[in-house]
Amino acid sequence: MRDGGGMLKFQRFVRAANIDDALEVLRFRKGAQVMGGGMWMRLSKRTVPCVIDLSDCGLDAIEETADEFRIGAYVTLRQLECDAALNAATGNVLTAAVHDIVGVQFRQLATVGGSVFGRFGFSDVLCALLALDAEVELAEAGRVPLATFVDMPYELDILTHVIIKKHDYRAAYRCVRKAATDFPTINTCAAYWDNDWHLAVGARPAKARLLTGAELGVTSAEPTAGELAGAIEAVRGLAYSSNIWGSERYRRHLAGVLAARAIVAAAPYATQEARDAASAACAHEEAIR
């Protein structure tokens, strides 16, 4: 064991002065890779010829403008978790998504850019962002909707920012972890904005998927039990598979349950009665009676 050494080895470490320099190294040095927090990257047992560091590129702030939040790629998950204005504006889903990820010391290193660029299936950050009106900003390709980016191939580009556009978000995040700070078995984020529902389901265990509007089967701001039943069915229509965090069958069940719970939690029901009536759809999913 290298006492405390990572498993990843690299031969060069380039601290880029700005994004242009970073891009140049990325393009011209074969096998070069940008390092985000490096949390996942360091776990792979391989040798990278050159690691590019963006610490000096000013990407570590969350900026708020009149109509969006601009989150630098080097903003840590801990910053994301604790940013009061951002979380107040987004139904606290970002806090909810990240606050059980390993521990504070981990989240002070892991970055938003690393989480999003990696497009990991288990990603809590990606799942939460996907339900919001989010874009990524790439140095080369410019702004791309997050939902598009998720399916893009890994290209030689640098993710510099994640942008969340402002809306009157009603949102909630739900996941199940076998152990408290474990990877999620399923994660879901429901958000109502721009008169439409957006539901992301991740850890299937494949990459998060986004369902909206008609394909989700929920249109009203205050979804009824019937609509929720439709949403559950829609969510269960996605592809799921088994791994050590859960079986395909359990994931499919869980995705429906958590989706319904997230929607009910997010929806601005005018009355408690309406909320209770909708919750019946969740209760219907109870396998334990």
């Binding site: 064991m1 076998k178 408290a180 474990d182 050590i244 209760a283 999913e285 396998a287 334990i288």
Partner: protein
């Protein structure tokens, strides 16, 4: 005249025993001092790394190390061709070990994914890593036995080597059928007893090969000392056994090996087996250079040892009124590739579970331990009892549920009581037992009588479950502990022990015993880590032995030392030794006859097993308060001690004593779990856990409490999150803390522990053990709480959300 004699009535007078003494090493540990093995490695030490087998079962056809040897900085690469062909076991057990000799340092045949193929020693980590990649191995891959239920009699035989050796016929080894050991113990007429039963619970339970997961992984370093001997510094619970293993593996005399144990970052039984000491010792033996080996977490999880996976078939017969009449338990234990601790752990699955229901008219316990091509099992806290109690306590809970009876009532109706002879416990007499009190108190703590077993909380269900546990205190007639106690200049004491503090605090506990006996502050007792060259022999810290057994040795040594101090003081004062009293500070001489004690004063009130029980049983009579009479002469301990180290009449006093016990008195414990299960996700949350422990006299309340809380924490992990998984080719999938989930503080409730101490007459000041009994209740208690909440009886651990939701058989 024996001076230290104890009785239950005098327990309240003890001063050092029961104190919340801060651990002697606490300040150093908490300031981060370099005290652990890897903090002490000398400079210019070779780094040793192991090439592990990627196959579950294979023969090495050819192995080419030439390219690896050419890597700059590589000092040596060794294969099976380089090591002695003398088999040994890594089980840290008393000689002759119960475990078969089925290992070599490196073998031509590899028997599990992770087995050792080659040893690399290099100047740097990087060089060693590069060399590992360049070793070319041609494997003849063989069909493995991965399913332990199919191992016995399988045409694939895992150990066929000529020089396989078994020390004792009693283990019933039948390795050509992959059987490490088997056995049977019967009591009463089982068929007749079952014929009497109104109801029989007939179920099979399954526990996994959990990882001990101590925070400090396996590690050791070796060097040659000034006398040309190999010194191994190791994070081990069994330094004296490691000395034997290293000598055996290297095929050199034990006199050429020295083992040093510094502070240990946890062991939990893992370090009761040798692990990597033989590799660095071999490298140093061959190269003459210091070498170190530090296992990664991955190696520690996938290439060392674990709990024995067990499948237990229980038939529990009872009357309709809940009276337990007959119990039949068969345990199948998965040994994995090598036989460490196989014949012994399995015994505890029956011998430490069935005696709880000792009133049963008949019981039978039978077992097989089988080899498979999975990681070897070894020792893990609870050592088989944990597995057996999950099965038996779960069956008792199911019995109660089927009868519609309160599970606590069923227990109180059937529970063993003091004075009984334990049919499935070597017919030992049970001198001390507060099991029923442990249960009643726990019921009070949780408010049992006011709560239904299941309550609907909307989207969750809350369930209650209970379990009892017992264990032993040291291995009867096999463990031995010895101590040296020295009085030093100015009158402090040095207590040399061979017991290995692994964070549990036995250094402090043993100092408390000495301080109590010698009537001084615990600070006046100096204790240090173990060094086989200078520490007195001790089989080691396992089997819940240190407090009970080494504690007795400390008492005996204290008694001897006091006798010597009195004798020497009598000489200096010119009086008869019988007239000298030692009160801790002074030696007081009285007029003849003043100190006479009536013959019948302090006989322990039991008789029975072996003669030497009496010798080791004591009632505390030291405290005869100084008589009213004025002493006729006196000298302080300091004066005496200073005279003893002076020339002329000096006689630097050391008392040596050893202890061994004919019996292994069981501690008891109750546990009640309150859990919430999410109705739609199955997620189980332990919301409350209460426990009451009978460990005999509580020697240090803080340390005993932390033992209990810690054991319960590990038990909760075993019950809920620790899920060992293998792939179809026999490779462990749960090989890091990302996949093997030891509980975090968010997974563990605020555990509440109380004590209901009985008084063990054979133990030091009435103490029994506590280290292991505490891990056994969470699994059965939580499983029962989940069953009450969901209707699903989970009989294979862990209880994942998925199993709690759907039941474990659905969807299979």
């Amino acid at each position: 005249m024996s001076m230290i004699v104890t009785r239950e009535a005098e327990r309240a007078n003890l001063e050092r025993i029961g104190e919340r003494t801060v651990k002697k090493d606490a300040a150093a540990l908490l300031s981060g001092k370099p005290l652990f093995t890897n903090d002490l490695v000398p400079a210019d030490t070779l780094t040793v790394k192991i090439l592990h087998s990627p196959y579950a079962f294979a023969r090495i056809r050819d192995i080419d190390t030439s390219r690896a040897m050419k890597v700059p900085g590589v000092a040596a690469v060794y294969t099976y061709r380089d090591v002695p062909d003398r088999r040994f076991t890594l089980a840290g057990q008393s000689y002759p070990e119960a475990s078969p000799y089925d290992r070599l340092i490196l073998d031509e045949v590899v028997r599990y994914v992770g087995d050792e193929v080659a040893i690399v020693a290099a100047e740097t980590d990087d060089a060693a890593d590069r060399a590992l990649k360049l070793i070319k191995v041609d494997y003849e891959v063989m069909e493995p036995v991965l399913d332990f239920t199919q191992a016995k009699g399988n045409p694939v035989v895992i150990h066929t080597e000529d020089n396989y050796h078994v020390n004792g016929a009693w283990i019933n080894n039948d390795r050509m059928n992959n059987v490490v050991a088997s056995g049977l113990s019967e009591h009463g007429d089982l068929d007749a007893a079952f014929a009497e039963c109104d109801i029989v619970v007939d179920e099979t339970y399954h526990t996994l090969a959990d990882a001990q997961a101590m925070m400090e992984t396996f590690r050791s370093f070796a060097e040659i000392d000034a006398y040309g001997r190999i010194t191994v510094t190791s994070s081990t619970q069994v330094p004296f056994h490691v000395r034997r293993m290293v000598a055996g593996a290297l095929d050199i005399p034990q006199s050429r090996v020295r083992v040093v144990k510094p502070r240990i970052g946890g062991g939990f039984g893992a370090k009761q087996s040798g692990c990597n000491e033989i590799f660095c010792a071999f490298v140093t033996y061959k190269t003459g250079r210091p070498s170190k080996i530090i296992y990664t977490r991955e190696e520690t999880l996938a290439s060392s040892n674990s709990r024995h996976e067990m499948q237990m078939h229980v038939r529990l017969g009872a009357k309709n009124d809940g009276t337990i009449v007959a119990i039949d338990l068969h345990t199948l234990s998965n040994q994995g590739a090598y036989g460490e601790h196989g014949p012994t752990t399995v015994g505890l699955s029956g011998h430490k579970s069935l005696p709880l229901y000792n009133h049963a008219k008949a019981s039978r316990f039978s077992f097989d331990v089988v080899y498979t091509n999975t990681m070897p099992a070894g020792a893990y806290r609870g050592y088989g009892a944990t597995q057996g109690l999950f099965a038996v306590e779960s069956a008792v809970n199911e019995l109660a549920d089927r009868l519609g009876m309160d599970p606590c009532e069923v227990r109180l109706k059937n529970l063993v009581t003091p004075g009984e002879r334990l049919a499935q416990y070597d017919d030992n007499e049970l001198y001390s037992c507060n099991a029923a009190e442990c249960l009643r108190r726990a019921m009070d703590m949780i408010g049992w009588s006011d709560k239904p077993l299941v309550r609907d909380l909307g989207d969750r269900v809350r369930g209650l479950g209970v379990a009892l546990s017992m264990q032993g205190s040291a291995i009867a007639k096999i463990d031995i502990a010895s101590v040296d106690l020295r009085v030093e200049e100015t009158g402090f004491y040095t207590l040399s022990i061979g017991a290995t503090d692994m964070g549990t605090g036995c250094d402090t506990i043993l100092a408390q015993f000495a301080a109590e006996a010698l009537r001084c502050d615990t600070d006046r007792i100096v204790v240090h880590g173990v060094d086989t060259d200078v520490s007195p022999f001790d089989t080691g810290s396992y089997a819940s032995a240190s407090t009970y057994l080494t504690g007795m040795a400390v008492l005996k040594a204290s008694e001897k030392l006091i006798a010597e101090l009195r004798a020497r003081a009598a000489g200096f004062m010119g009086v008869n030794v019988d007239d000298v009293l030692f009160d801790g500070e002074e030696l007081l001489a009285y007029a003849p006859g003043t100190l006479e004690v009536p013959d019948d004063a302090d006989r322990p009130e039991f008789s029975g097993i072996y003669d030497d029980v009496e010798a080791i049983a004591r009632s505390y009579h030291m405290a005869q308060a100084a008589p009213d009479a004025e002493p006729i002469a006196r000298m302080t301990l300091t004066e005496l001690a200073n005279k003893l180290v002076a020339g002329g009449d000096g006689d630097c006093l050391t008392a040596h004593a050893a202890a061994s016990s004919p019996t292994s008195p069981p501690p008891f414990m109750s546990g009640i779990a309150e859990v919430d299960v999410d109705k739609a996700t199955g997620k189980v949350t332990v919301v409350d856990y209460v426990s009451v422990v009978d460990c005999g006299t509580v020697v240090n309340e803080n340390l005993a409490r932390v033992q209990a809380e810690g054991g319960i924490g590990q038990g909760i992990g075993m019950a809920l999150t620790e899920d060992v998984q293998y792939d179809a080719r026999g490779r462990m999938r749960t090989r890091s803390f990302m996949t093997y989930k030891v509980p975090t503080r968010l997974d563990i409730p605020r555990v509440r522990v109380e004590f209901a101490p009985s008084y063990e007459p054979t133990g030091p000041f009435g103490a029994k053990s506590i280290g292991e009994v505490v891990i056994n209740t969470p699994s059965p208690a939580i499983a029962s709480a989940v069953a009450h909440a969901t209707g699903h009886y989970i009989r294979t651990l862990p209880i994942t959300p998925e199993k709690a939701l759907f039941g474990e058989d659905s969807g299979k």
